[in-house]
């Protein structure tokens, strides 16, 4: 048989270039980062020497690392809990037909499509310490805080530790909500209308249908949305880099941004690799969960 007709040979030839490319730009650097993490390599040194688990030990001893580790989990878990709640509400609302639906969908997708770094700059302006539009509203419309003597000073959104963490979580919710919503919508539209009809004939109200029929049926897809959102939030550094650079006092530092500041700004490739590798077990767990879901429900 000619190669052009042999499915197996053809399959190898067609898949090989993509696999080789992925191996070269994902596989090789990944192995390299494993080596970096047990070496003392820096930006300027050529090869580096084996130092065992020294980098991991010094990372764990470093209070700013421990803070970043905690922040990363907090940031990812809290933001995704909020996302999943809001995305379910929004998807159910969007499932109905109404006038102007296409424009609403476009608006709601904007934060996901726009480059994150640029969207975050928009928030930087909204949360500015002096010109914040939110503070303008709090002062001029509500009068709850303001610059006048005797008034509570308005919040410095990105400068006070708790508020800064709240702000980066809010922006992360803002940018991942569209993805979770459209994934949920995909799940909702796959529920046959018969099921809704049957429920309404049986007299089930809106909330009963929602919690006893809709949510259980879209649960696998809901989980997919959560897992993707969690992975994106867990490994992201853009929102933090743009809004706070990890400040104030490392209170919003996450693993990815810490690795960046240490490795690229500080030149300590070995230490930074060790920090970034702490992301890996969580990623692997997410991947395994996704695979299980794919097997069970024909859904990824």
């Amino acid at each position: 048989m000619r190669t052009a007709d042999d499915p197996r040979a053809l399959a190898r030839i067609l898949i090989a270039p993509a696999l080789i490319y992925i191996g070269a730009v994902i596989g090789v650097p990944f192995l390299l980062s494993l080596w970096f993490s047990v070496s003392d390599v820096t930006v300027s040194s050529a090869a580096g020497h084996f130092v065992g688990l020294e980098n991991f030990r010094s990372a764990l001893d470093d209070p700013s690392f421990r803070r970043a580790l905690g922040n990363t989990f907090f940031f990812a878990i809290v933001s995704q809990l909020i996302v999943i709640l809001l995305a379910t509400v929004l998807a159910v609302a969007l499932q109905k037909d109404f006038r102007g639906k296409w424009i609403v969908r476009l608006l709601i997708l904007l934060p996901w499509v726009a480059p994150v770094s640029l969207g975050s700059i928009g928030w930087l302006w909204i949360l500015d310490s002096i010109y914040s539009i939110i503070n303008y509203g709090l002062y001029h419309a509500l009068g709850v805080c303001g610059p006048k003597p005797g008034m509570t000073p308005c919040p410095v959104w990105l400068g006070q530790p708790t508020l800064a963490m709240g702000s980066i979580i809010a922006v992360q919710v803002w940018r991942t909500l569209p993805l979770a919503t459209v994934i949920n919508l995909g799940g909702l539209s796959s529920i046959p209308q018969d099921i809704h009809d049957a429920a309404s004939i049986d007299g089930a109200g809106f909330f009963r249908t929602l919690f006893q029929i809709t949510v259980p049926l879209i649960l696998p897809i809901l989980l997919v949305a959560v897992l993707f959102g969690f992975v994106f939030a867990f490994t992201d550094m853009i929102v933090v880099w743009v809004l706070t650079r990890g400040g104030p006092y490392d209170m919003t530092q996450v693993l990815a941004s810490l690795a960046f500041f240490k490795g690229i700004d500080g030149g300590d490739l070995a230490g930074a690799s060790a920090i970034a590798l702490f992301l890996f077990p969580v990623l692997a767990a997410a991947a395994i969960l996704l695979l299980r879901l794919a097997r069970r429900s024909e859904v990824i």
Partner: protein
């Protein structure tokens, strides 16, 4: 309509309205800020949703004439086009082979390839920085051309796999009965039918390139070589001086138009995340 239905409608409208405002407000605020005069911007007591001191095009003039914004847009376009080309050349054949030629092994491999999309730039950027400097690609757009396919190929292979699975097998079989080889059936019959899928890959690859930030920030050092997503936040802010008017103009121009394009293709994107793996 009874009171309950009216109430439901009001709740529905408010939910939709609130979410739309939450999602779109930062962009609306960018647009409003673009035309504000500096003395208006720097007056915390000036009414924000209007132009008490008049509108101006000065911020746009500064953006286009005194910053590298147009050059960053050009750089993004350049990198985007080459990455689209590389992605198409590698992901389309791979997607076809996974959908049609390799049975259940292909399905496993397909899921494996998709999962590499989960490997984030924040794990790879440190070793890649070393690789890029060893290849003497530091501070060139080619470093981005080399690395961006690492996330565009997996996602687009997966998309194309789902797309090809949706095409009935009879079509190739008929072509092969007519004397075409397997390969020719793919290139001459299936590919021309797949324009919509290929266009989807082009749009998604382009938006992924436009959004990428970590590699761009890591590999590029000089202002002239930035892409738009890195150039705007790192170069239009000098020290503590923010050119808010120009900055907001740049963010709006670089993010909103592509969203309209993307919106046309979004259903296919969702399908890629949800039902791409349904057994064919």
């Amino acid at each position: 309509m009874n009171a309950r239905e009216v109430g439901g409608k009001v709740v529905h409208r408010s939910v939709i309205g609130l979410f739309s405002i939450f999602a779109a407000f930062p962009f609306a605020w960018m647009l409003i800020t673009t035309f504000k005069k500096t003395n208006d911007l720097l007056d915390p007591n000036s009414f924000p949703f209007g132009y008490p001191k008049g509108m101006t095009l000065e911020n746009l003039r500064v953006l286009f004439e005194e910053t590298l914004f147009l050059r960053w847009m050009g750089n993004t376009l350049f990198v985007g086009l080459i990455v689209v080309l590389i992605t198409l050349l590698l992901a389309v054949p791979a997607g076809y082979a996974l959908a049609r030629l390799s049975g259940s092994f292909g399905e496993q491999l397909g899921i494996g390839i998709f999962l590499t999309y989960l490997v984030p730039p924040t794990i790879l950027f440190i070793p890649l920085a070393k690789v890029v400097s060893l290849l003497h690609l530091q501070d060139t757009l080619w470093s981005l051309v080399l690395t961006y396919p690492s996330f565009t190929i997996p996602f687009c292979t997966w998309l194309m796999m789902g797309f090809f699975k949706a095409i009935p097998k009879d079509i190739e079989e008929a072509a092969m009965v007519d004397g075409l080889s397997r390969l020719a059936a793919f290139t001459k019959v299936i590919l021309p039918m797949s324009v919509a899928g290929i266009l989807t890959v082009v749009i998604f690859t382009f938006t992924l390139v436009m959004q990428e930030f970590v590699y761009g920030l890591t590999f590029i050092n000089s202002g002239r070589n930035f892409t738009v997503s890195v150039g705007v936040p790192s170069f239009l802010v000098r020290g503590d001086v923010y050119f808010w008017g120009s900055l907001m103009a740049a963010c709006f121009i670089a993010s909103v138009p592509i969203a309209f394009l993307y919106n046309l293709f979004v259903d296919r994107f969702i399908a890629g995340f949800t039902v791409g793996a349904v057994k064919g």
